[in-house]
Amino acid sequence: MDGMSLLTVTVLAVFVGFEVVSKVSSTLHTPLMSGANAIHGIILVGAIIVAGQAADPGILAVALLAVVLATANLVGGFVVTDRMLHMFRARKDVVRQEAPLKEATGREDAK
């Protein structure tokens, strides 16, 4: 891709990035940070390409290290974000199942 179209894509992506998270509640700051963190693990694609071109064993070793690191970022990032968000979502179901907290929901409903 030529430089000009690449620049166009980059500038548009900056605006999209600003727009999509412009109004995020502080409750979601942590999961959003973690989710964005997982997304830059996509450097894995670059690491795979570099490792796939490596002819020299030394270069291959460095490239494979990059693959391991990028995979850790990508997989770990999505898993830990999912765990956090699972807790947000599971709240009501869990509250219903757990006896001691039943009254708590009743109280809140009564408000």
Partner: protein
């Protein structure tokens, strides 16, 4: 192996980029957040499958092995980590991402003679290395492998300036010569700059720096996309860079700080951050029974949970105590500071884990005016977020941070392990006020004792 047609490759990468945009969009609203994250993961999977089907790759068994190793290390850690330790894990994952971007750029150096591509390479090398080393230091601070206080030494600004100048000089030399040795030197300088950047940042501000470094890694990935001519990396990296910048500013605003103030505040000297000495002044300590009497005959109680509660896993006991008090006709709420815990929104995650109903968690803006109607404010394992120094002491590292106004309550009870200052490393004047009493001990034990005493009233 069969190779995908270049048009299909581009379309699949485009689809992955769209999934990433949808993921970030979903993540900024509570109802769609989890789906958003899964959409992002699907986009990443799609992109990885695409690269295997489209690029001419050697060493495929090795690559798959490396992916297996990376997954085998990261997934169990991510699955098992205590939610209280999650901020440092996010820092760690961010760091390795930055490191991966720097290594990719380093290896691409010999493949190009185009000066613009080399500019993108040196950018990736430097920013990736800063992010890697900086994240390492934030990890060490959050894990308390090192002090969480700002570390400044005389001449730090000079050293930092020298490192940056050397880095710029080396970067120019790499662009001109394409020398691999100089590129490695540039990486080393980037690592040094990353360490120097984060050392002077105090404990309470570390999460904001993680967010900033997250944005840095995004930019490094975007630049590596330019190097490899891969639009997906450009789009994904830029998205993270831009959204991370916004997020960093939002987090800093939630603490009443500026990003520049956080990074360079300690440079200005006169930082009072850092007394970990235990003060000799007298405090009023009480017994669980006294606390139970105060709570049991109040009309309005506000519980202020902090990191100490989460560490002690005392959330369930706190919820039970709230129920026991309500059974006596007392109105009880939880007051959540936006940065309670170790990073913005962390307390909500921790309490959600403990099944505290979301509806009884009141945000700071909503609850602050209610403290003056409260008979008792029960502060459980929180310190910095209720410290009036944020309003009164202009030299304090938390100065300007909005706080929960527990001092307005008629009685204030602190459940604390010891007189040791909180994460920001500063004393809390509130502890010495006449309406304050302290109950020392592990938050969960103390809550259980108070709960037992309330039930016995």
């Amino acid at each position: 192996m069969t190779l995908l047609d270049p048009v299909w490759t581009s379309l699949l990468y485009l689809a992955a980029a769209v999934f990433f945009i949808l993921a970030l969009r979903g993540l900024s609203s509570p109802r769609t957040a989890r789906r958003g994250n899964l959409i992002g993961a699907f986009g990443a999977l799609l992109a990885v499958v695409t690269v295997f089907l489209s690029a001419r790759l050697d060493n495929i068994p090795w690559i798959i092995g490396a992916i297996a190793v990376g997954s085998a290390v990261a997934a169990p850690v991510a699955r098992r980590v205590q939610m209280t330790q999650m901020p440092q894990l996010v820092a760690l994952f961010n760091g390795v991402g930055g490191g991966a971007a720097a290594l990719v750029a380093l290896l691409e150096l010999s493949h190009t003679a185009d000066p613009w591509v080399r500019v993108a390479i040196v950018f990736t090398l430097l920013v990736g290395a800063v992010s890697f080393a900086g994240s390492g230091v934030t990890f060490a601070k959050l894990q308390e492998l090192m002090t969480t206080r700002p570390i400044v030494f005389p001449g730090l600004p000079v050293v930092m300036a020298a490192v940056l100048l050397a880095a710029v000089g080396t970067a120019v030399a790499v662009v001109l010569t394409g020398s691999l040795a100089l590129a490695v030197l540039l990486m080393v300088l980037g690592l040094a700059a990353g360490v120097l950047l984060v050392l002077p940042v105090g404990g309470a501000d570390v999460p904001i720096v993680i967010s900033l470094l997250n944005a840095f890694t995004g930019l490094a990935v975007a630049a590596s996309g330019v190097v490899l001519g891969n639009v997906l990396l450009v789009v994904a990296g830029t998205l993270v860079g831009a959204s991370g910048t916004i997020l960093t500013r939002a987090m800093a605003a939630a603490m009443g700080r500026s990003v520049a103030g956080i990074l360079f505040g300690a440079f200005k000297g006169g930082s009072t951050a850092g007394s970990t000495a235990v003060s000799e002044r007298p405090v009023r300590s009480s017994s669980a029974e006294d606390v139970a009497v105060l709570l049991g005959y109040a009309q309005r109680v506000i519980i202020v949970p902090g990191y100490g509660l989460a560490v002690a896993q005392g959330q369930h006991t706190a919820a039970e105590l709230a129920l026991a008090l309500e059974a006596r006709g007392i109105e009880v709420d939880f007051a959540i500071h936006p940065v309670a815990g170790r990073m913005p929104g962390h307390m909500n995650v921790l309490l959600a884990e403990a099944n505290v109903p979301y509806e009884s968690l009141k945000e700071m803006g909503e609850i602050n005016s209610e403290f003056r109607m409260a008979d008792v404010a029960l502060v459980v394992g929180a310190n910095d977020v209720v410290n009036p120094a944020a309003k009164t002491s202009s030299g304090s590292p938390i100065y300007g941070m909005p706080i929960l106004e527990v001092a307005d309550a008629r009685q204030v009870i602190f459940l604390k392990r010891s007189m040791r200052p909180g994460f920001a490393g500063i004393e809390n004047e509130l502890l010495y006020e006449p309406q304050t009493s302290l109950l020392f001990g592990d938050a969960k034990d103390s809550l259980a004792k108070v709960l037992g005493a309330v039930k016995a009233l």
